[in-house]
Amino acid sequence: MKAERKRNTGQELFRACLHNKAALISGLIILLIILLSTFAPLFTHYDETGQDLMNRLMPPGNGHLFGTDELGRDVFTRILYGTRVSLLIALLPTALAAALGTALGICAASFRGATDFIIMRLADIMLSIPGMLFAMVVLYTLGGSLASVVISLILIEWGETARVVRSVTLKLRESEFVEASVSAGAGGLHVMIWHILPNLLPTIIVLFTLNIPASILSESALSFLGIGIQPPQVSLGLMTGASRQYLFQMPWLALAPAGMIMVIVLSFHFFGDALRDILDPGRRTA
């Protein structure tokens, strides 16, 4: 116990991740996926839109790891570029939703009364409309594109974070160490920066990592239905959707992108779970 005292919480978190097997393995897989997709050109000499109608629908083998799709494009390459979109979708909207949720959650907990009521009712509204249907409304208004998918994911996910952040903040505000700080003359801002935010951080991190799988699954579902990301942009959901009619003759066409989605989601999921055990083994945040 004494040995780790010197490090501040950041290093402690990293060291704890190394010790926790689940966090280590899933962390490495995530790193691998990120490297594979960002440096895709190194791993494949095809580009993701290059059509080669001569050998369309080729089975895996001779130069095409996962074969080619209906327009003769190399499936493996498209998966790498599709993963970029999935990773972007996994991190950007989830981070923005976490930030928005945290801000509104803290506001709701700090300025009680009307603000609290309005924010919480807004969160209830978000939670009472199925994510998919709400995304459809957003996509109807803004048209199907990466940007509109990001916006709809932000709007869908902020509600839950706001609710959890609000309840944790309320509990923190009533704790004795905040009362001690106030009785020493500290102002609201000082209490927020010194006591509320540092103690909120673990909860926010855990919520963020647990929302990542949800974002990836939502985007891929929207793109699968054809109303999310539109061609020529590449998305794993879109690829799976497009290969539906070839499902029985060439199952790998659908299996490869869908399998990749599963691998990404699983690794983020285990990483989030492990992080939750490390950060607050006692309390159950969900």
Partner: protein, 264 residues
């Protein structure tokens, strides 16, 4: 103990709403004085309003009615900037050592917080010296300055709480059940420390407890509270020798006698 009054309360009332019609009256028209250099105890069973009264005196919460005077000036109506100077002169030591220290801060930052809020120490080295000085006063090892609260025992955490409370050289220390959560041996060490510090620093102390034996050891005067009302105030010897109020007698009779006369 001088005759000068440090802090006094006049007809203080505080109530909380419980749903539409019912209101719970925590403190009901209470008046009391605390003299400079004295240890006044507020004793009573849970729910008698002693904690609420303490927080009213410290102006952590506002009373529904009544006046609070600190060295003659009425502070019941003050708030924000005007109230801040008085915060410096009254400090509180809390009950549960585990939840009164921020788990994310090291001991150095916990004790330094009041000093930082009031910018008492001009530079870092002065601040560090002051913190080490405070650690020494509460009999904690200097090496503990970098520890996190989770690495300390209950008694050690309470000592950090005391160091934080005396950091600003306050005139009044309010102990809200500060030893109730501790084991007997640790409780004795903390009681001795509080008594010694009070004498060395010339503090006045408002000691809140449900344990009449602890109050008998540490207090000069005792207020017995019940249902938000002070039913008796007397100095320690007279209260224990011949208690006036019937409730006080009932409290005293409930304490099992330890030692000489074994159970009949």
């Amino acid at each position: 103990m001088s005759e000068e009054i440090l802090i006094s309360a006049r007809n203080i009332t505080k109530s909380y709403s419980l749903g539409r019609k019912k209101r719970h009256i925590a403190v009901n028209d209470v008046s009391l004085e605390l003299y400079k250099g004295e240890t006044l105890a507020l004793v009573g069973e849970s729910g008698c309003g002693k904690s609420t009264l303490a927080r009213l005196l410290m102006r952590l919460i506002k009373a529904d009615s009544g006046r609070i005077c600190f060295e003659g000036t009425d502070i019941s109506a003050l708030s924000g900037r005007a109230l801040k100077p008085y915060r410096k002169r009254m400090q509180m030591i809390f009950q549960d050592p585990a939840s009164s220290l921020d788990p994310r801060l090291r001991i150095r930052d916990i004790i330094a917080e009041p000093l930082r809020v009031w910018r008492v120490c001009p530079d870092k080295t002065e601040m560090e010296r002051r913190i080490l000085d405070l650690l020494d006063m509460v009999e904690l090892k200097e090496s503990m300055i970098d520890w996190y609260p989770r690495e300390l025992s209950g008694g050690q955490k309470q000592r950090v709480g005391i160091a934080r409370a005396i950091a600003l050289d306050p005139e009044l220390i309010i102990c809200d059940e500060s030893v109730s959560a501790l084991d007997v041996s640790v409780q004795a060490q903390i009681l001795n420390l509080l008594k010694r510090l009070k004498k060395e620093l010339g503090l006045s102390c408002l000691f809140i407890s449900h344990d009449l034996s602890v109050v008998n050891f540490i207090a000069d005067r005792v207020c017995v509270m019940r249902g938000g009302v002070i039913c008796e105030t007397a100095d320690t010897e007279t209260l224990y020798a011949h208690p006036g109020h019937e409730y006080t007698r009932y409290l005293l009779s409930s304490i099992p006698a330890i030692g000489d006369d074994p159970v009949s």
